[in-house]
């Protein structure tokens, strides 16, 4: 019989790991900590390298649901009105992490104070045992203050704070470093910019094992192919030895809900609810296959689909 060779690639690089969440042993209150990254080969190819830690699914929770699509509210049966109930619902639905976005702090809308918003973080931490990702509202100046307050109110919890950009990274990375939290570095769809922000962060003193990179994952039908290839190129460069890219990758797939096909009826086609769910699931699968170590997801049903696929891809682990 013909003997087919195994086309194993010999990579010189390895993705670093980042620990999220601290248990009481480490001074925190999480029921367990989780590890991101650690791959020694391209995604899910067990003949090529190890993927010691499974990619994690973070359930999105907003402190003010604002324009959250009706379909998602329905899926949570009203829990979306209260971040604590929402986070608990995600924990029950099998999320690995909670991703809390403090949109209430947006100075152009509700303009809640950093103190008020950080109280929500505390409440969620008390209600669930999962590690936490915390974002502000995307307003640079305000986020700097919000993240400082969040960092200080939960000093030992090993949160993942979002996000450091080239134009605004100092105050947030200082806030993260002060209390040993991890940080999300963000770059807009580009391998070199991704590298650049990680260089800035490490030069500023952030430890590499506290950085998770978000290269912006565009949703299905809205530029997904760009992100897909940027992710693959980042991962390939990292495995080939580019140390500044050897960090875990995080992708926010909730943007899928912005796509027309996921939010509007299409003439002659039924099943918007089903289609929207698959829109996010497909976006998340593309992120996973191209190298994501963590996914931020909105729909629990889409998360169920992706979780099953992830476990199957890892051989049932």
């Amino acid at each position: 019989m013909a003997d087919v060779p195994v086309p194993k690639e010999r990579w010189s690089g390895k993705i670093g790991t980042v620990v999220l969440g601290a248990t009481p042993e480490d001074g925190g209150t999480r029921s367990r900590s989780l590890v991101l990254g650690g791959e020694t080969g391209m995604p899910f190819l067990s003949y090529e390298g190890a993927m010691p830690n499974r990619p994690l699914i973070a359930g999105e929770v907003l402190d003010c649901p604002g324009e959250l699509p009706e379909l998602v509210r329905k899926e949570f049966e009203g829990a979306t009105e209260d971040p604590v109930a929402w986070a608990k619902a995600w924990e029950l639905r099998g999320a690995d992490i909670i991703c809390l976005k403090l949109h209430s702090t947006n100075p152009e809308e509700l303009n809640c104070s950093p103190e008020e918003a950080s109280q929500t973080v505390l409440k969620v931490l008390r209600a669930v045992g999962l590690p936490l990702i915390v974002y502000g509202s995307g307003h640079e100046e305000k986020d700097a203050k919000v993240m400082e307050a969040v960092s200080n109110i939960a000093p030992k919890e090993r949160l993942l704070l979002g996000q450091a950009e080239e134009s605004a990274y100092k105050s947030i990375s200082a806030a993260a470093m002060a209390n040993e939290h991890a940080i999300i570095s963000f770059a807009n769809l580009d391998v070199n910019l991704s590298k650049q922000i990680n260089i800035l962060l490490t030069d500023f003193g952030t430890r590499k094992d506290r950085i998770v990179l978000d290269p912006l994952f565009a949703s299905l039908g809205m530029g997904l192919e760009y992100s897909y290839s940027v992710m693959e190129r980042i991962r390939l460069a990292a495995l080939m030895g580019d140390s500044m890219l050897q960090v875990p990758l995080i992708c926010d797939t909730t943007s899928a809900w912005k796509a027309k096909e996921a939010s509007e009826e299409i003439e002659g086609q039924d099943g918007l609810e089903e289609r929207a769910m698959w829109w996010e699931a497909t976006t998340a699968m593309a992120a996973l296959i191209s190298g994501a170590d963590a996914l931020i997801m909105r729909s629990p049903r889409a998360a169920d689909v992706v979780r099953k696929a992830r476990d199957d891809l890892r051989g049932g682990i």
Binding site: V4, Y228, M285, I289
Partner: protein, 441 residues
Amino acid sequence: MPTAIEIFKHLPKKNCGKCNYPTCLAFAMQLANSKAKLEDCPFVSEEGKAALAASSAPPIRLVKFGNGQRLVEIGDETELYRHEKKFFHPTAFAVAVSDLLTKEEIRGRVKGICSFRFERVGQILCFDAIAIRDDSGDPSKFTAAVEAVAAASDTPLILVSSSPERLRAAASTIASRKPLLYGADAQNLMAMSTVAKDLGCPLTLIEPKGLNEMAALVTKSKGAGLEDLVLDLGPKSLKEQLERSSMVRKLSVKKLFRGLGYPILVDAGKGEEAVLRGMLAVMKYGSLVIFEDISEAQALPLFVLRQNIFTDPQVPIQVKPGMYPVNGAREDSPILFTTNFSLTYFTVLADIEKSKVPAWLLVVDSEGLSVMTAFSAGKLTPEIVSNALDSSGAREKSRAGLLVMPGMVSRMSGKLQELSGMKVLVGPKESSGLPKFLKNL
């Protein structure tokens, strides 16, 4: 394609000039660039021809089935990652029909499959093939079902049966449609390859045990004179599908091993699992997927994923330049302009929609470049924007006289105001600032 030196080794080295090139090496260089034909050399040996044909064959064979306009072409891929060049032949999607259905039911089902037609960014999305399954084990039923499907649609066909006799009987009646036969396994390979050869149809090989076993099956099929093969690697899990498909692609395109260079078929089944198998096939090296059943809501995301993954990464995807109404724009709504790079357009559009403020989006032809890149490259100048205002009939559609420009290129605001005669407002630097900007307008 082999290099000039590799080709040169097989040439007679006479430098006779009969090929119209002065030396054999010059001829080899032309051959390597596909600018000359090997037949032009009268002295090249049969072994040389065979060796060159084998090494210049595409790493993954191009297989065709169906005919006319609805021809399905799969395989002929050369890359591991789409950013290296591009993926050439989009994964074909097929839906299965069982021969247990009555003639009426078959007609209805085929109609249902063909009615899924969706236009998106200038492409028509529809199923590429229909697979008819021999579930009955009854030759007359299977043949009747194949005939019924063939009569109801011109979609390319895949005939699924484990019996060479039943497959021959059914395929003979529609041989001119050149169906894909599915398929042969280690037990019935010889009988199946005779059927495929007699009818001139491509044949699918089924071998779930592993790649070694599949390679053995391929060798036997080639020995029987078959070249148009499709491989069903029979994965039991997503892990097996990803790993086996990735190995086949890598072995073939990196020329480590040539015995598995054929397109891969994924028999996806139905339900959530099938959709996931379909997605994986699109992203990682599956050329043909057969769904037992799939809803429209599941199919559309898959088709769009295929559209995304198979776009050419070297050609920026462009949006058609022009004036687009957003949020029910009227005559008194302002105009915002941006470039025709699709990512830029999608982002700006989504942010205007978020504001719920009626507005016109003027998409300026920047040859597919984003705002800053276009500005730097001189593809987004006050003149170009002003011309776009004229050619798109923008001033007739919006009479508000208000033009909002991307904050990143505020430098050109003065000149633009002068040229356009409109009141030019400098918008936010990031499109995410648009909702607030528009609400306060």
